[in-house]
Point group: C2
Chain length 247, copies 2
């Protein structure tokens, strides 16, 4: 019975805080509250939802854990940036075979990102395309300074996705570029010069509003990554085999 | 100071329960615990992480809220199904313009799902393809019985994505088919016969291992949805305009 202390939080039936959390979510949606808006205070919520302060507090904690709300110390409770969106929303960190995952993420990127580059070149405004170019330079700056360029790399790809004016694509990029960081830890700096060349080719094609060239450049860039990843995987297999043989 | 009761949960600095939650996540990853495995009990966790029971309990609550853990009443704490993956992980419910969102999700599906159908036809095992066929029949059963077929519809598309043997694709389907339910609430039953015909065409092509035909059938099915959605949007615009005129 060592786990009886956990009994109060049950998954099979919805708990009261869960129900209240749903009601608060509904209230946010119905009142079209967005990032940075203030949530009604605890007393108002208790009155409106007809529940006690304890339940409201627990519900708020749940919604903070899910990045719907954020607490600003001494100021109150606000709607979070990108409400409801969490880091690693598909739980990729919990996959046992991270190399297979990296390969499959790259496969998904090869399906999605050439389309994104193509449409970005066609639909992007001059201001959006200028942002892509700035991000391209920022990635190079990080690489040339020997710093970790991967966060900037994600921003670069996300800014291209924003040029599509499709709400979903910029949200998918952080998910499918989960592999970028993973890949960074796997391959060290072998791809750095290819990254600069590949990014520039994509950037140039988008700036020229040449959709087909942008798609091809993106495809080329990602396939180059896949070739590297294949080489890393083969290397790891060899090491495993030789370690096995040495025992 | 009406919100001072929320002070204990802060977002700007990481709270102790947040830190402990991260440590527990790390422990799950390092020990390769997966869905259905039991988490070490509270006493072991306190000892291993060198923190008090209160912090462990709060951390467990956070991880339950994020669907990493689940509590089984009287049995203990277990790793959840699809750990770390929550419903609506991109927070689509919080978007103000749900019709624009539905259009953009459909655009994303038209990019991704013909590829999925093509590769499913090539890589799917006989057992996986048989599952697609069973799901196809289950959708029809629901439609013909006048019941809500949308949960089965999602399963149908997810089972096709499983045939690709790509880890990421079956995870993307629930995200990009968020529009399916939205669409259901928008369009009523107008698309039901097209759904049956479209699904059968995809199913037949996959069963015949004909990748190109599967991609075409999927494309056709989704474009049909887009035509319907365009009609609904035009209808809503007309209603808005006439309501505006009546005021």
């Amino acid at each position: 019975m060592e786990d009886s202390q956990f009994e109060s939080i049950r998954q099979t039936e919805q708990t009261l805080p869960e129900k209240v959390a749903e009601q608060i979510s509904q209230l946010i949606i119905e009142n079209q509250l967005t990032s940075g808006d203030k949530l009604p205070n605890e007393f108002e919520l208790c009155a409106q939802l007809n529940v006690g302060r304890g339940s409201v507090r627990e519900a708020v904690k749940l919604l903070v854990a899910r990045n719907v709300l954020e607490i600003r110390r001494g100021k109150g409770t606000y709607i979070a940036d990108n409400p409801g969106q969490i880091d690693d929303p598909l739980g990729f960190a919990y996959y046992p075979d991270q190399i297979k995952l990296a390969m499959d993420l790259l496969e998904a990127r090869i399906v999605i990102e050439p389309w994104i580059a193509n449409v970005a070149a066609q639909r992007g405004t001059e201001e959006e395309i200028a942002q892509v170019h700035r991000n391209c330079l920022l990635v190079e700056e990080e690489i040339l300074a020997g710093r970790n360029h991967l966060p900037r790399d994600k921003e670069y790809h996300t800014s291209i996705a924003r040029c599509t004016h499709n709400l979903v694509m910029p949200k998918l990029i952080p998910i499918i570029t989960y592999s970028v960081e993973l890949f960074g830890t796997l391959n060290g700096n072998r791809l750095l010069s290819e990254t600069i060349i590949g990014h520039r080719a994509i950037d140039d094609a988008i700036a020229a509003h040449d959709g087909e060239a942008a798609a091809n450049a993106m495809h080329q860039h990602l396939v180059q990554n896949r070739i590297e990843l294949d080489a890393i995987r083969a290397e790891q297999e060899r090491q495993k085999t030789s370690e096995g043989g040495a025992k």
